[in-house]
Subunit: 309 residues, 2 copies
């Protein structure tokens, strides 16, 4: 199975309002709830692609119960979340019906105790024993040490399990130094890590810092991969329009499934770009549209940039 | 005991953000959760005043569990909520730290089935048997008939229990026609009910429509009471500043406690005005400041307007 780790799981709530006006009172027209957090989103996409997935991380309180109830209704995803005393955070996305724009409110997440963090690490080691790959995704809740991902990367490598890291800031910086097989920063995260706004140079620098392979997601410009096997750029010929929520998580799922199927890099990248675009165009935020994916995957242009300046 | 009815209970969530900007992403600095809905707020204030209170209405789902857990930690309030299949609504208040302003997002509430509504009515009749007064407060969740409050008013009157109604729109219009002992509309609700923006005339009209007594809450202008015993205006000499959340519910608690203690109208009104103002000035939204209440209650000016034009 593929293991996804979401230390800061979330109950993702979407509110549809007629028009968001600061300092006014709003009647919410529609409420949608989903289990969330980057690794949970990756797990859902992997399961939809037919993979057997186990989702671990933390869940607690009444919001954690909501997350687990909804995860139980997601075929193909096994719940291996570790219970905690604090309550799983909520994220609230307020969609303005007039403009289509979204205003996002993200709770920080529960305080994790040292004992809970130790219990998670035991669970992680146990789950790694039957994992073909692991994805470490998203922010850290309060109480989890900033070097947490670095430790989880080392444990995965010691167990011989390929490990993908998708986070930002100091946890990314430390995690990269622990030599993960793959990191997938977006343009902002990559610039923050390397100090360079030039993607070719920045991906190279990220490898120098320890990542075996780097795939940078550059929004409408697609993906830029810098790997031991070469360098590629993958993009659709035209920009797709829609809601970018979850597009990065779908790209991670595409890269991970390509890795365990041992696809060549160009095919992995085409899959990741198409899944990402099929998520942007989907009418349901954060879900990918299967028909769009199947149509788009053949239209991704992958160019070899191994010898680019 | 005093019975409060909250058909559309809520989990009231307050988010503190640095500055709310539409279409941006926000890290929530602080999350506060409270059991809410008007009748629950009234119950909390009555309990703080030393009354024995029972709170009924509906609660369901993980949010309903949060409401009940928090109610269990409120001394003096007995939980007699009726379980339902749908989830209790959330209200989200986003407080902007820069301006101090609040943006409110209110979910509609769960769909109540006919069987759940019937179960509530049985509970209500049973609880009325030991109630000295009952307050019917707030909006109706989907599925509850628009004439619900009218029926609950008639049942209370048949049981000989004084009944206060605090709602708006069509449920208020129908409820008033069922002859409640007291209604407490604010200026907007009163104008909507009667078609008149002139409070003296409008309170008279509301009595003509069936309410035995009417106490209109007019914000900084205090309370205007039109009763079989006479007509009074009660207000503080100077406006108080702060957060008006829950001020109306505190006024209801003051009126209700004055009723069961059989205080003369001027003393009831002074208590209601002081509790309301002590809620506005309280540092905690929706709670009243006891020290402020005790200081303010002696400063409320009550003028007899029985013979006013």
């Amino acid at each position: 199975m593929i293991l996804t780790v979401t230390l800061n799981t979330a109950l993702d709530i979407t509110y549809r309002v007629r028009s968001l006006r600061p300092h006014a009172s709003h009647r919410v027209q529609e409420v949608i709830e989903r289990p969330g957090g980057k690794g949970v989103n990756v797990a859902r996409v992997l399961a939809a692609l037919g993979h057997e997935v186990t989702a671990t991380g933390f869940a607690g309180g009444d919001t954690g119960r909501s997350v687990r109830d909804r995860l139980a209704g997601t075929p193909g995803v096994r719940d291996a979340l570790v219970g905690v005393g604090g309550a799983t955070r909520r994220t609230v996305a307020v969609v303005d019906e007039l403009t289509g724009d979204t205003t996002q409110l993200n709770e920080p997440g529960p305080q994790i105790t040292p004992a809970e963090w130790a219990a998670f690490q035991e669970t992680y080691v146990r789950l790694l024993a039957s994992a073909s790959a692991v994805a470490l995704c998203g922010s850290l809740p309060p109480g989890v040490p900033v070097g947490a991902y670095a430790g989880l990367v080392r444990t995965a490598r010691a167990a011989g399990v390929p490990v993908l890291l998708d986070t930002d800031g100091e946890p990314l910086r430390r995690g990269v130094a622990a030599r993960p097989d793959l990191v997938k920063p977006n343009a902002g995260e990559l610039a923050e890590l390397t100090g360079s706004h030039e993607p070719l140079r920045a991906t190279q620098d990220a490898r120098r810092r320890g990542a075996h392979a780097v795939v940078a997601s550059l929004g409408a410009d697609g993906l830029l991969a810098h790997t031991p096997e070469g360098r590629w750029r993958a993009a659709l010929p035209a920009r797709v329009h829609g809601n970018p929520t979850g597009a990065g998580d779908s790209a991670v799922a595409g890269l991970l499934s390509g890795l365990i199927e041992d696809l060549p890099w160009p095919a992995r990248l085409a899959r990741a770009v198409a899944l990402s675009a099929a998520t942007v165009v989907s009418p349901v935020a954060g879900e990918f549209d299967r028909g769009a994916y199947e149509e788009l995957v053949g239209r991704v242009a992958v160019t070899d940039e191994t010898w680019a300046a």
